[in-house]
């Protein structure tokens, strides 16, 4: 092996790499405002300025979610000319790379290097758990936009807020609804075998059984199960309804296998299973699937109209819950900032956030004392409208909080859902 060859190509390629890295930074990663790092371009509003750290995945399995949250946030910011409540907003985006180690590093970078006064984002709950304690200790508010673990919002008076759902929040109304309104008395649960799957399934199972109906089977499949046949073929065909918690690409595979094996039991799902990001790919297989979620692009209210119009003008596809989460986060921040007098400190924003009450595209949104959003939950059904598959709203459960109708203290005494999985069907 000659070791002498190729020093020149090495230099050339290194140069090319650096050049590419340079180009890449200008490449529109989300199509949002050009707001990459650089506090030099600090926008100064009448009341001052605030640096917002967007910590959403731009690579890895949750990239599509993270991009949409960022896009939603920036779209709202754009619509307000880059200022929220007369504070100039500087957006700095970092990629947590779906890895707690990277995410913790990036959270510190946002706060310590970029001077972020608030961090918004996080999709993976494990990452959120890893990052939250640092932000707490640093006194920087954290607004979660996707990560769903119930346990993240169980501390009163913290600096953590969440505009998106907890694992069980959107499915608890569904249990009641399916049992009482739809009159489907026995259910088979098919969920992903990780905490979100157990929480969403458990939320459904709890209210469903409390309403007098019966969970007859529970099946849990690993995240990113390539072949769903082993699970689909085990589904108890005597059940009246199949309750599915299969977000992301698993939803596509689950429904394909479900239809392929000729099952015809109606499906009711946690809303992320029929997300608008997935509907075009799922097509016919999603037809008629019902679900519960705190958003649907076809909600009829002025805030949603503004949002959907702004979105569709810019992107050639439907809005979805993630984009709305980002948009609503920006709205919530705006509302909080309108309460902050002067310098937007961590404490100032945190205190103001507690009293935030906004009309988001999803409807009315405010936070409970644990920092978790209270919002309306919609019962939806996948239907074809104007040649496109949409989650048509068939019913609304207003002002759902993370404990649903249960007494808070009683609810907090319940064993966690990871302990309860497998016990519902018994």
């Amino acid at each position: 092996m000659s070791k002498r060859r190729a020093t020149r190509p090495l230099v050339a390629l290194t140069a090319a790499t650096l050049a590419l890295a340079g180009c890449g930074s200008q490449a529109p990663s989300s199509g949002g405002v050009s707001a990459d790092s650089g506090s030099g371009s600090a926008q100064e509003g009448a009341n001052g300025s605030l640096t917002v750290g967007l910590l959403n995945p731009l690579t890895g399995p949750f990239a599509a979610l993270g991009e949409d949250v960022n896009a939603g946030f920036e779209l709202y910011l754009d619509s307000k000319g880059g200022q929220l409540s007369d504070y100039g907003i500087n957006v700095v985006k970092e990629d947590p790379a779906n890895d707690p180690g990277v995410a913790t590093t990036k959270a510190r970078q946002l706060v310590q290097q970029e001077g972020a006064g608030i961090v918004i984002g996080l999709v993976n709950s494990g990452v959120a758990y890893a990052v939250a304690p640092y932000l707490e200790s640093a006194g920087v508010p954290l607004m979660i936009t996707v990560a769903g673990a119930d346990g993240l919002t169980r501390t009163k008076g913290g600096n953590l807020f969440r505009v998106s759902y907890t694992g069980s929040q959107d499915t608890m109304p569904a249990g009641d609804y399916v049992c009482k309104e739809l009159g489907l008395k026995t259910a088979a649960i098919v969920g992903l075998d990780y905490s979100f799957g157990w929480e969403a399934s458990g939320g459904f199972a709890r209210t469903y059984e409390d309403a007098g109906c019966k969970v007859v089977q529970e099946l849990y499949a690993p995240l990113a199960t390539q072949d769903w046949a082993p699970y689909v073929t085990q589904i108890n065909r005597d059940a009246d309804v199949v309750f599915a918690v299969t977000p992301g690409s698993d939803a596509v595979r689950f429904l394909k296998a479900y239809r392929g094996f000729g099952l015809d039991t109606p499906i009711f799902a946690q809303g992320s299973t029929t997300d608008e990001q997935l509907l075009p790919t799922m097509g016919e297989t999603a037809d008629g699937v019902m679900s519960s979620l705190h958003y649907s692009p076809v909600i009829d209210n002025p805030a949603n109209k503004t949002f959907v119009d702004a979105w569709t003008e810019k992107y050639d596809r439907s809005t979805n819950q993630y984009a709305e989460d980002g948009w609503a986060a920006a709205q919530a921040l705006e509302a909080a900032l309108s309460d902050v007098k002067g310098e937007p400190t961590g404490d100032g924003i945190t205190n103001a956030m507690r009293n935030v009450s906004i009309d988001a595209p999803r409807g009315a949104l405010r936070f409970d004392e644990y920092g978790q959003a209270i919002y309306d939950v919609y019962m939806r059904k996948v239907t074809k409208q104007d040649g496109k598959w949409v989650n048509k709203v068939v019913d609304t459960v207003p002002a759902v909080n993370q404990f649903y109708t249960y007494d808070v203290d009683e609810y907090l005494q319940f064993p966690p859902y990871d302990k309860l999985k497998g016990t519902w069907a018994k």
Binding site: K3, A6, P9, L10, L13, T14, T17, L20, A21, G22, G24, S25, A27, S29, S30, D36, S37, L58, T59, K93, E94, D95, A97, N98, D99, P100, G101, V102, T104, T105, K106, R108, Q109, Q112, Q113, N124, S125, G126, Y129, A130, A132, P133, Y134, A149, G151, D193, Y194, S195, P222, L223, D418
Partner: protein, 352 residues
């Protein structure tokens, strides 16, 4: 034969290496006084992953066994900390010992599985083992917290728990001690026999060494220190999660070793520092950082398969060509003239 005696040469170089190491250590000790806290955090992370890469290299660069499952050890260390520190009041020292024991035990398992496998088969056997370990971490929620991992790891039991600087110094001390122990180990008969594994297993066996045992020793020692690296990382981040055991980390540590120079004791550490810094820098510039990382991998494979230190050593050898001539090949008209290996030099510590 009329050769320059390498004796004086080696002595002067040994002195120089000692000076270089001493200065480096002083600089590292002084970092908390000059670095902003974020970069101190990054530096601590580099220490942990640098230790991991160095430990990995016992099996990889020295033992010649391309393990693609080393994340299992790193993750194991992190989980030991996660479980022990959140569920017990065990003192720090005990947790360190537990980590060492667990890492050694898993290393023995890896070694026993790999008594015979070679090359690509070893690569994939270790990968399968690590994936099985990953499966346990992900699915045995009672113990590991599943996908949420274990968070809220505090440094309460850690000596001087307070400041980031204190933890940095603790990490530095542990890394220095670990590296010294590994360095000494690799010069011991067992360590040299592990190096012999890479060079020729058949000769090793014909010499009277039981080859399989040394494979197990290599994995055990490597596993123990890899687990310590995981321990440091978990204390630093305050969390342990399945991604500590993931395939990509196993692949990344191999790139650390190769880019830095797997033939050199300090190569992998250097590689870890370079790649982690680069990742941080590029990911700040662009969200397309995985693409750039891909380019770095490709360039490493094409042009740096001897690593940065390998290249430096080569350039130095070339520069020294005029002063030293190979005893044998020069006469035969070969151009790539060699010089004696200096066993105490940082760069020339060649084991591959």
């Amino acid at each position: 034969m009329n050769l320059p005696s390498p004796g004086d040469h080696v002595k002067s170089r040994r002195l120089r290496s000692a000076v270089v190491l001493g200065v480096l250590l002083l600089v590292l000790l002084a970092l908390p006084f000059v670095l902003p806290s974020f970069y101190l955090f990054v530096a601590t992370r580099i220490l942990a992953l640098g230790l991991f890469a160095t430990a990995f290299n016992i099996v990889f660069g020295f033992g010649g066994m391309p393990s693609l499952g080393h994340a299992a050890f790193f993750g194991l260390g992190a989980y030991v900390v996660g479980i022990a520190s959140t569920r017990s009041d065990l003192p720090f020292v005990v947790i360190v010992v537990l980590t060492l024991v667990a890492g050694t035990a898993l290393g023995v398992v890896f070694g026993l599985f790999n008594l015979r496998a070679k090359g690509i088969y070893l690569l994939l056997l270790t990968l399968a083992l690590a994936q099985a370990a990953y499966g346990l971490a992900f699915q045995q929620v009672e113990l590991t917290g599943g996908d949420n991992g274990i968070s809220g790891i505090t440094r309460e039991g850690v000596p001087i728990p307070g400041s980031a600087s204190a933890f940095y110094w603790l990490a530095l001390a542990m890394v220095v001690v670990s590296l010294s122990l590994m360095w000494a180990f690799m010069r011991s008969p067992v360590g040299m026999a592990i190096t012999g594994l890479r060079e020729s297993e058949s000769r090793l066996a014909a010499t009277g060494y039981r080859v399989g045992s040394y494979r197990v020793y290599a994995f055990a020692v490597s596993g123990a220190f890899s687990a310590v690296a995981g321990l440091l990382d978990a204390y630093l981040l305050g969390s342990a999660s399945p991604s500590n055991m993931a395939f990509l980390l196993s692949a990344e540590v191999m790139v650390f070793a190769i880019l830095g120079g797997a033939a050199f004791f300090f190569g992998p550490f250097l590689g870890a520092a370079v790649i982690l810094s680069l990742e941080l820098y590029v990911s700040t510039l662009t969200s397309r950082w995985t693409f750039v990382l891909g380019i770095v991998y490709v360039l490493t494979a094409l042009f740096m398969s001897d690593g940065i230190l390998g290249r430096i050593a080569y350039l130095r050898r070339r520069a020294r060509r005029k002063t030293a001539e190979s005893p044998t090949r020069a006469a035969a008209g070969e151009t790539d003239v060699a010089v004696p290996a200096d066993t105490d030099d940082l760069v020339e510590e060649r084991h591959t």
